[in-house]
């Protein structure tokens, strides 16, 4: 009983936050249904790339590898995806190339950190600098892609009152795919053999090793799979959401994704919820600018999502518990 007023229980805390969001949502919906629907839908659109990017972090860190190179992975794969699509006039090939680029970039990261046992922060930084330099150097103006992915409604689901419009209408295929992929990653991590092994490698590689699990193999595969998702996000942004490549288009999204991963406790569904919340804050700030709230300067309204991130991190920090072996090199033989 004495714990009720003591430290705030994380579950009740999550519950309160969810309840608050729902109440605000319903209130706004009643007040102005159309605007609310479009704000929520654009919150989804802002949130999904971040949610997917944080899946990259989860795949890597659950197996014990810190990957701060998500930013660079997305940038590189967005670049190759866009220009290949532009050259071949085929966005499907472009997306495939983007995914392959992501895998290759992550493979380099895996090689540096797992095989050569390099510091993981430095490896990630190398990837970020490399990506930023390479894409800026090779960047050419004026390229276009023939088309972006079509936007459509999902039949039946989009008609569900209240949530249908937000989740299932007026989006592209990758956006919808994310709604399947994220729960699938959750199932992978918590319900499959691969997931159990991945978590054991991220928590205590020694125990995995003595159980006959190859720590190196599990880490390699997770990092490369994570890279595939990173490539998907790069392609997603350049070929579906925006439809073009611009220098440094990621603008820190890779790092925001890591913050959302931490906020979501390395749990795919948690990170997804965090990303959607962040996306909503961003959508709301855009909407406020459109409404033109006169007495608050625009700059402050644009700050809203970032203030939100900082607040969320401040209040959720301290209770987080990352995978125990994260960031540590695993050496098999120790005297």
């Amino acid at each position: 009983m004495q714990r009720v007023f003591g430290s705030i229980n994380i579950k009740s805390w999550k519950f309160l936050l969810t309840a608050a969001v729902l109440i605000v949502w319903i209130y706004c919906y009643v007040a102005n249904g159309d605007v609310t629907n479009s704000v929520v839908a654009s919150g989804m659109r802002f949130g999904m790339p971040l949610a997917l990017a944080s899946m990259v972090g989860i795949m890597c860190e659950r197996s014990g590898i810190v990957n701060i190179g998500i930013e660079g992975t997305m940038l590189l794969s967005g670049f190759t995806g866009f220009y290949v699509a532009s050259y071949t006039k085929n966005i499907i090939i472009g997306l495939i190339i983007a995914i392959l680029t992501g895998m290759l970039t992550s493979f380099v990261h895996a090689l540096m950190t797992i095989q050569w046992q390099m510091d993981q922060i430095i490896a990630g930084t190398i990837i970020n600098i490399l990506a930023s330099g390479l894409t800026s150097f090779l960047y050419k103006e004026g390229s276009t892609v023939p088309n972006t992915w079509p936007i459509f409604d999902i039949p039946i689901l989009s008609r569900i009152p209240f949530i249908g419009h937000a989740f299932f209408s007026q989006q592209g295929p990758i956006q919808y795919f994310g709604l399947i992929l994220i729960p699938a990653i959750w199932v992978l991590i918590y319900k499959t053999r691969w997931g159990l092994r991945t978590r054991s490698v991220g928590e205590n590689p020694g125990s995995a090793d003595t159980a006959g699990i190859s720590v190196i193999k599990v880490r390699m595969i997770n990092v490369v799979l994570g890279g595939a998702i990173g490539g998907l996000v790069g392609g997603f942004i350049c070929l579906e959401l925006v439809g073009s490549f611009s220098k440094e288009f990621t603008a820190g999204a890779g790092f925001t994704a890591l913050a959302l991963m931490i906020f979501g406790r390395w749990n795919p569904m948690g990170a997804f919820a965090a990303a959607i919340l962040f996306g909503l804050a961003q959508a709301l700030s855009t909407q406020l600018q459109i409404f033109g709230v006169n007495n608050i300067p625009n700059q402050f309204i644009t700050l809203l999502p970032y203030v939100f991130t900082i607040l969320v991190l401040v209040f959720s920090a301290g209770k987080v518990r990352p995978p125990a072996a994260e960031g540590k090199v695993y050496k098999k033989e120790e005297a």
Binding site: T192, L196, R199, E203, N204, G206, S207, A208, I213, A324
Partner: protein, 502 residues
């Protein structure tokens, strides 16, 4: 008899050390072989090579006549080898079931079938009489249970050879007896058991054969019936060792350390020491017996100023000691041999000489007006290295270059060569070989004889029994009994340590 495991001419070097030098040994079906040796003798390396965790440089390992590929754990497992590791190889945040099935999970397609796994764990635990709750999270369980999980993990496959690397280091006497019983049962069912230990008593109790390693070489093999504990110790160390501590009766003086109604929380915020009171006299050794994790660590840290006291006071010779100020507590005459020498006792990347004056480097004569005097330091270091028999080519070498026993000697040398009122020694001989144990014990006794009060905290009941003038048994953050050291009953104390009052 059927030979199960055969190791021949196995060698393995690590940079700077020959851990295993041309070792040959075998284990038969249904036989318990004890592998004995000092720290750094190469025991762990040898069994890790058998289990595929270490890749030998040369030599062959065969199991049931088939040779095993080097450095392949999966192959060792598939040949029927199970191993219980010195440092538990468990994933703390996972459940008992998840830990036991890891590596060979019951599954349907790619999905885990946790129901089947849980059932399997329950049956496994019943079959071997090792009770566990399949749904508990491992980190919430006491070490004795964690050990059980490790053994169940090893027994899950039908194994022919069970390797145990210092399995009894953290167990209560009762738990040790249970474990020895499990080993006997396994041997009776035809499993070969190879176990590493420091504890000669266990060897005498359970082993069919004893193999002794020293400096990476096999120096002898015997059976318990052909020798006794003294004989085994001599084989391990290579010289005569006196196992019984030679000490006269204590001349207890006035109270030098008193703890009054102290409550301390552990790092997770739970109460670890509850309303604790204790008096330590000059000229006595007060041993605190108890299974690890019953608040001993927090008690020691709170006394030495390394952990916050929620309530209560600590007085050194009648003066209240400050909370959370280890330097001040030290200056009041309390020396501290910490439980974790690597973390709290030494700076590994400093020289041995610097480590020896770590608590007074800024004081005269080691420094004047903030400038250090290395001549004084060197002379002092030379003297202590000699006096405490710290085995090193030079006191300029880094502390990290020393073996465990010699590191501990550095800590003991530093802490026991000053004017002392109180010595707090936490697990002073943990992971230290027989020869160094003898030496450290004698040092503690001589500190007592020069008038210091010694608070000895140890999980080794033998150590408590042989050194203490009084014994306090700690359980659940409290002292449950204080007994005279003379004629204390081992079994009775063991029961108290396990929380049984009757």
């Amino acid at each position: 008899m059927d030979t199960l495991l055969n190791i021949s001419n196995l060698s393995k070097s690590f940079p700077g050390v020959k851990a295993n030098d041309d070792i040959s040994l075998h284990v038969n079906k249904g036989e318990i072989v004890a592998l004995l040796g000092e720290n750094g003798a190469g025991k762990s390396t040898l069994v890790k090579a058998v289990f595929g965790l270490v890749r030998p440089d040369s030599g062959t390992i065969t199991i049931k006549g088939e040779s095993i590929a080097y450095g392949d754990t999966a192959a060792a497992i598939s040949h029927g080898v199970g191993m219980v590791h010195q440092h538990f190889q468990l994933v703390p945040v996972m459940t008992v079931t998840e830990n036991i099935i890891l590596g060979d999970e019951p599954h349907k397609g790619m999905f885990l079938s946790m129901k089947a796994a849980r059932q399997e764990v329950i049956e496994l635990s019943k079959r071997h009489g090792l009770e566990v709750d399949p749904d508990s999270v491992v980190e919430d369980l006491p070490v004795g249970i964690q050990q059980r999980i490790e053994i169940l993990k090893a027994l899950r496959k039908d194994i022919d050879l069970l390797i145990l690397d210092e399995p009894t280091a953290v167990l209560t006497p009762q738990e040790i007896d249970e474990l020895l019983e499990v080993m006997r049962n396994l041997a009776a069912s035809g499993v070969g058991v190879l176990f590493i230990t420091h504890k000669l008593r266990e060897v005498m109790a359970v082993a069919d054969r004893v193999v002794v390693l020293r400096n990476g070489k096999l120096v002898g093999a015997t059976t318990p019936s052909e020798t006794d504990e003294e004989g085994l110790a001599q084989m391990m160390v290579g010289r005569n060792v006196v196992l019984q501590v030679d000490k006269g009766p204590a001349k207890a003086g006035e109270v030098v350390l008193s703890v009054e109604n102290m409550t301390v929380k552990d790092s997770r915020g739970h109460e670890a020491v509850t309303n604790f009171s204790l008096e330590l006299h000059a000229g006595e050794i007060l041993g605190i017996a108890g299974v690890e994790g019953n608040g001993q660590r927090e008690l020691v840290e709170a006394i030495c100023g390394m952990r916050h006291r929620t309530t209560g006071t600590v007085k050194v010779a009648g003066v209240v000691a400050p909370d959370m100020d280890p330097r001040q507590v030290h200056l009041m005459g309390v020396s501290h041999i910490p439980e974790d020498r690597e973390k709290d006792g030494l700076v590994a990347s400093y020289s041995i000489a610097d480590n020896l004056i770590l608590n007074q480097f800024n004081l005269k004569p080691y420094a004047t007006k903030g400038i250090r005097d290395f001549k004084v330091r060197d002379a002092y270091a030379e003297k202590l290295v000699e006096e405490f028999d710290i085995r090193t080519p030079s006191f300029e070498n880094l502390a990290s270059s020393l073996s465990g026993g010699n590191k501990q000697k550095v800590v003991v040398a530093r802490e026991l060569t000053q004017d002392l009122k109180v010595v707090v020694a936490a697990q002073p001989t943990r992971g230290v070989d027989v020869g160094s144990i003898e030496f450290i014990h004698n040092q503690l006794v001589s500190a007592r004889d020069t008038g210091a009060g010694v608070l000895l905290v140890s999980a080794e009941l033998d150590e408590i029994l042989s050194l203490s003038d009084r014994i306090a048994v700690m359980f659940g953050g409290k002292i449950v009994a204080i007994l005279p050291g003379e004629g204390a009953d081992r079994q009775y104390i063991g029961r108290l340590m396990a929380g049984l009052t009757e």
